[in-house]
Amino acid sequence: MSEQTFVTPAEVVTSDPSFMRGHGTYQEGKDIVSAVAGVVEQVNKLVTVRPLRTRYGGEIGDVVVGRITEVAQKRWKVDVNARQDGVLLLSSVNLPGGVQRRKSESDELQMRKFFTEGDMVVAEAQAFFQDGAMSLHTRSLKYGKLRNGTLVVVPPSLVLRSRSHFHTIANSVEVILGLNGYIWVCKRATKAPEEMDPDELYANVNEDISNQERETIARVCNCLQALSKRLIPIDYTVLAFAYEASLDRETKELLEPEVIEAVTTEAVARAAMVNE
């Protein structure tokens, strides 16, 4: 088998009887056949097919962007684009007033003051429960409630793991590339989280956003959508090049197929040059 093989449903992966069928495959006579469209992977004698379009799997340490869907006993449920909602425990968030203070009953009663249904949050995967649900934490000032911007959704398999998932584009717009395919694009905060009042960390108020910043946010969002439409793996480099390549067009032109094609092709070519 070659290093990376793409297969489509009903395509024979291998006819060698010494292989065992794994996820994404089924047996048909002597053949192991793919049940999904994806990449063939092999561990010893076990053959699996990893689907291209799938829900987010996740690993410990991943930066994810999620939306609170439910407030429950001492925990929030978070939609992280996975098979089941992630869990953010009350004990895994920084509460106002002291970094290491104990969570009291009064905190439990006012959980909606911190996060309520619909709120966007950036967090890190801390652990997995027995049933496969992801446990998140926001015990760092990098993480927490998201404001001043908008959400872009791309297939999770397109977001590449990299050293940092927090980036700044054009000096004014921050992009958080959640590995679960949720990407938050917002105005760069004027105040670093370290300088914020404890209460400000959980505030539900946007800063003032100038028209130019709004345009830039929209342009970055459209670039992300364009890359995702062409199924191009997304990291900071390719996004930055796509943004630059798009600058001689109007933002809304980036919704047109021809422009998407031109901008993404240029971005990929320039990113390839840098990676060499």
Binding site: G118, M120, T150, N204, A218, K252
Partner: protein, 302 residues
């Protein structure tokens, strides 16, 4: 998305202020419409079909099938339309099971109202076979494959295109010896007739009130932030056929006029584009036929 239908307070504020200054989250201005991509004649088992996609999100497929039915005693010289819209669970987890029932009914009603009112344009008398006895029933079945906002507009764009693509089989009526009427359906598609006055069928343009302003062709997030919605149906003579408001917010008279005006202008552009596309499609079919390539049979014989 598991969190379909949720939006945070700060996202709402971001959208509202964006509408205020006229820069939306995807860079469009308030009146900008995502260019609809329409394809005609996709479903081989139906007598007419079309698919409409708006942006990356919305995707609907409409099929029209002619079926024989009993004439309605209240309108015995006319045929009937039967509209059904279904939201596929592949569009959103929320639509699984009975989750989409309310929305399906709402959307079916919206399309029915646009097509069956006195303004609809279609000549239902054409669908009558034997007055008081038999008529054609046009089954209009729509499926929402992806939900990315502004579905009503997309549904009507696709429905109008599908109706233009529709051919009704020819029928030959004979009087029997005992005076009863009998008829035969011609299975030759060459003799099937297009629907009369299909160019008068209106399109719908929806304006969403967000904050103090309005937007056309809202995305999913924008729809969640809208306090009121106005569906305006407009025909090809530029006349407003119907307007329907939904949502619990109020619309000020001045804003209402602005919404109507914007919807009218947008509808004119959409209708022009679509009529042009329908003409192209018809020329293509005529060319195919001239080359002697196989043409499909009416669906009741398939």
């Amino acid at each position: 998305m598991a969190s379909f239908g949720l939006v945070s307070q700060v996202e709402r504020d971001f959208v509202e202020r964006g509408v205020d200054v006229g820069i939306r989250a995807d860079g469009r201005a308030r009146d900008d419409y995502r260019p609809p991509r329409v394809e005609l004649g996709l479903v081989s088992q139906s007598d007419g079909s079309a698919r409409c996609q708006l942006g990356d999100g919305t995707d609907v497929l409409v099929s029209v099938r002619c079926e024989l039915g009993q004439a309605d005693p209240a309108a015995d010289d006319r045929g009937r339309l039967a509209v059904s819209v279904e939201c596929s669970p592949s569009a959103s987890q929320r639509f699984e099971g009975r989750g989409a029932d309310d929305l399906n009914t709402e959307l079916s009603e919206a399309v029915t109202r646009a097509l069956t009112g006195p303004q609809s344009g279609l000549n239902l008398r054409q669908l009558c076979i034997v007055p008081g006895m038999h008529c054609w029933v046009l089954n209009i079945d729509a499926i929402v494959l992806n939900y990315g906002g502004n579905v009503v507009d997309a549904l009507l764009i696709a429905t109008r295109a599908a109706l233009a693509d529709t051919r009704v089989p020819r029928t030959v009526v004979q009087e029997m010896e005992d005076g009863a009427m009998d008829f035969e359906v011609d299975d030759d598609v060459e003799n099937a007739q297009p629907l009369e006055h299909v160019h008068n069928v209106p399109l719908c343009v929806t304006a969403n009130k967000i904050g103090a302003g309005y937007v056309l062709d809202a995305t999913l997030t924008e729809e969640l932030c809208a306090s009121a919605r106005l569906h305006v149906t407009v025909n090809s003579s530029g006349q407003v056929c119907a307007a329907q408001k939904s949502g619990d917010g109020a619309i000020e008279p001045s804003l209402l006029m602005a919404m109507l005006q914007a919807a009218k202008e947008q509808a004119r552009r959409l209708l022009e584009q679509q009529d042009e596309q329908i003409r192209r499609h018809e020329t293509e079919i005529a060319a195919k036929r001239a080359r002697g390539e196989p043409v499909k049979r009416p669906s009741i014989f398939v």
